[in-house]
Symmetry: D2
């Protein structure tokens, strides 16, 4: 049985050694600041290869910055950003989208954690051309979603088609894009621009970087705005090579995919193990690195007493969230499962 481990958040875990090594390696000699350096150029090339086409790339240090800047590039002040009510941009960014866009974030009535295309279609038509109403300007979807679910390429494409028809842009919050990608086993292009995505927040921080995210731009015209939006938001890093070195190492030799596969596999293993324990059950399928489990209080508090750390206040009675990362080990997982079994056994369940 284990001695405890954190399943609170992928943010709890540090950086991949390869990424730390790249930071040290890029520290020789002078380099042009603000992105006019070699490392940044190479990151742009890598993204072009990954997405099988030229793309615009802007590196920033946080996911909230990547999201809010992306939204600001596609939403006029009188526009609306339509998203799921559980979307990070709606609930966890302290109003950053409103600040950056000066517009309105409208949460869809969709259930689950993915946008329902049928509801979305009606929501996209609401108020169109009526000067009293904000004008739909952008749809934002999260991939993987806040509860670890994944839009298939076809599902993204259906939303992309609705967006095109309505003349609005499609943004993807890919804070956990790598986790979603390895879960779908599709090409990155299939989940994004081929399916109608105009701009992607490509996360690296949660999956092994220190503080590096990319705004990947498929709609070229946005590149006339984004560099200025980034600068005036204080998100243009002077010593850019240190962001670029992180992102470079993250993309090199598929580290990003390897890390995501590890995290997803650990979540799967944890889900399988815990679901077999009496008093615990999976709330939604274990597709990526986030699990939601319903548990008896005895079980959850017993696990906490044994040093297993996780969130559990926010998703209704008895529901806890477990997040794995590239650093989660089989031992941590198996330890938690064994602890759960022991607690359940002691209760004679």
């Amino acid at each position: 049985m284990g001695v405890g481990a954190s399943f609170r958040s992928d943010n709890d875990w540090g950086a991949s050694p390869q990424i730390l090594a790249a930071i040290s390696a890029c520290n020789e000699g002078p380099a042009r600041p603000y992105g006019a350096d070699e490392w940044t150029r190479r990151v742009e090339e890598r993204f072009a290869r990954i997405f099988e086409r030229p793309v615009g790339v802007l590196l920033v240090a946080t996911g909230t910055a990547a999201n809010a800047l992306s939204l600001a590039a596609v939403t006029p002040p009188w526009g609306s950003v339509i998203c799921h009510r559980h979307a990070h941009i709606n609930t966890d960014e302290c109003g950053a989208p409103e600040f950056f866009t000066s517009a309105k974030v409208v949460s869809s009535a969709s259930g689950g954690s993915k946008l329902d295309p049928q509801l979305l279609e009606a929501e996209l038509a609401w108020g169109r051309g009526d000067v009293h109403s904000v004008q739909p300007a952008c749809v934002s979807i999260t991939q993987a979603t806040e509860d670890g679910q994944v839009y298939t390429a076809a599902q993204v494409a259906r939303i992309g088609t609705l967006c095109r028809a309505a003349g609005v842009r499609l943004h993807m919050d890919g804070a956990r894009f790598a986790n979603a990608l390895v879960a779908t086993d599709r090409a990155a292009a299939d989940l994004t621009w081929r399916a109608g995505v105009d701009v992607l927040s490509f996360g690296a921080t949660k999956n092994g970087a220190l503080n590096a995210e990319a705004i990947v731009v498929f709609e070229e015209s946005l590149m006339a705005k984004l560099p200025y939006l980034r600068k005036r938001a204080g998100h243009l890093s002077s010593k850019m090579r240190f962001l670029a070195a992180q992102m470079g190492a993250y993309l090199d030799q598929d580290l990003w995919l390897t890390n995501a596969r590890t995290a997803n596999a650990m979540a799967r293993r944890l889900a399988d193990g815990l679901a077999a324990v009496p008093g615990a059950q999976l709330e939604v399928p274990a597709l990526t690195n986030i699990l939601f489990m319903r548990m008896t209080d005895e079980l959850s508090s017993g696990l906490r007493r044994r040093g297993y750390d996780f969130y559990g206040e926010r998703w209704g009675p008895g529901v806890i969230r477990l997040v794995t990362s590239f650093r989660t080990t089989p031992e941590m997982v198996d330890g938690m499962v064994a602890a759960a079994r022991e607690i359940a056994g002691a209760k004679g369940i």
Copy 2:
């Protein structure tokens, strides 16, 4: 004679090895994200020691963020921020202060690069209480200034007294605070809160960090606003330990002061060397790590041809800017001086 070196910007140079080492060292095990970690706590303690009193500390990744957030904490939407017309916040942040405050940046008529207290007093009185006018809310001074000059403690205090009398806040843009501090040989407290500064942008990036700055808060009431302002601007780092480790190593064993002393000494050496070359003269005293020299075109273009890199378009005909850093070596300096002498000699000057 040297083979060239960059004197373009302190942003061209990478990070101190001690700071890189600290980043690697903090990477063990899980840590609470968003600043609830040990490294962040220790940084707060270090700042309290340096400033000889409790202070609020918020780490961010860029100087523009530190400035704009500080200003937003002290300026209502109908307020004005008064600064020198050459202030970075006025000329080099693409409107970030306007974006974060939604207020007006008013540039003082002061000459040189420091605010003239007499002019400032009149500017602070302008429009006060008149609903048609923005209301003076904040004065922002740069230490060291954009052309490398330094406010003495008495000069800061005089401005601080004017601010107190006018009921406005005093912000200090200390992107190069370390360079100013070692130039004045005063306590950090003397240049800041004892002289009336309410909030300080404390720079580390230009002087050896990768991407770490601190907002140091002396006016406690601002701490009720700043954490929310930071989050909604996308400047709350999730894996905060990586910013904290940088700042910790920067402050540890006076690395920040050592680095600044090196940079200032190199500037002094360069100033002395070049000023002795016919056709070159110092525009303003060489107090910190930024020099402005007036040079003949032959001299400046000759130096560029020999691989010496610097800016020279922006400050009038014949004026170039030279910036040294903690990584500038005597060899780089002496090489440039020798090259200048050779060019001047060849011209028979």
Copy 3:
């Protein structure tokens, strides 16, 4: 049988003759602009009498301005404004609240058109103190509501108590405050500050003025902000006497109450008449000057053909909205009822 009449909106109808007369009467000689005139002073006195206490008063030309400025005075940029999802500020102001506050408008899950205190209590607790979440700063209720319902004094007070307990402000959108007041037969004070309202958008335009609304401020500290907020939003009228004369005549000799009583009585008469017609039924009680009726398509299109004008696309199949005003006459009402009866009769219903 009538020849048609407009029940589209109280905005379709012009101004009371008394108000036009007051505008002409105030036109003699010079007067200080921007509110430093006699007419404005007297309006302030009248409001103090109506609300039985000193109040702050700011006249503006539109209801959206009154609402958005009120919200901006009580909501910091990281705050949230909680309102009913049908609230005018949420659906009909093209994002003005977001523009003026730079904050987030959060729509309550409450049913009907009034905020449910039990749901509100939970919504006020959400995210409190969590830096990732916008912070509840203000609750906004509409009196009368968008579907013509009225909060009793006790209902306002219950919400007021929740707001006080949560440390948030209470705003009342009183675009149709007069209609609500005469419906409740209570003192204006009972529906507002005695029940915890901090700031009121007091409408006059819909009820007989040309373009005049008042922000009535019960929380004195807001008066330090509102004059500046109004000016920078372009809502400080230079020739203020023309707004003040309107508001003065509106309040004089209870014109506002008389007009509202007429409008409400006409709505009641229309509701009674139509509800007796087969194929028509009232959706919600007829309390003020807005009715929602469910009707057969034959009935509604027949009425339209006969020249009766009303909205009917927005509230679900078969639901139309009928709005009366101070200018609606018994003849208009009876004509419509007679027309409806005739149409229903012709269908052999």
Copy 4:
């Protein structure tokens, strides 16, 4: 000798009787709100005739709204608005341009009260394409200027050409456009779109209306933005006919030009009269309805004691401002001149 009169501001004076009559006349029957009425349509036709081409027209209630909305339509958040340092938008709108644009207002170094094309050209080139700098997006000129001067058609055209070359828009603040127009004796088109103006704040309030201004749009693409910008700023009047009736009467039978001619003629008469008094002299030519006079303190305080009201604190020692209006009479003017003569005589000057 007169008994005093106000020369403080054209805002001190009420409305033309024709405009009051038009307001009363438009009050019959229902009318579509928000500008879908007959009066608004006819105003659009009148403007098309005046400017000899189709134009977009948006009526608003204040000059600050007209200016700030115009600027917001042509300035992205990272843009700058270049204007004279004495421009109303820079000094007298409490930051409205910054609020509406979220951008930076940059005051030109030009002397006098008109933009100097040579300086402007350099200012338009500053920072172009540099991501650290706000990007010039709009030039705003005031016609007539804040000290009553007038740009000739050729002068506007020169600035218009610079703007086109720089790819920026040209806005004209025409709060006193009528006064400038009659001073130049040119067609309205010559002073505006033919000279490169993209959008004009067309004032009526100062010259006889109650509260009505028009945004006149020559660059058609702006009409896709302005209606939404106006609504979200709370500047879309519901009972629009009351603004339209004002503007209609203002334009009908050249009332606007007649009123402006009266005001300008009274200013000329006042200037001639006072300039002949020892101890008084004209500071700038008397071209429109604003005079700046330098006077001895005896003279100015003597005039004030006799009931002549004017501003005099803001433009340097001894300088007072005198503003005439369409309601200023020869008696008021001659009375003031006689009073000045008497005061000067009593001093034995």
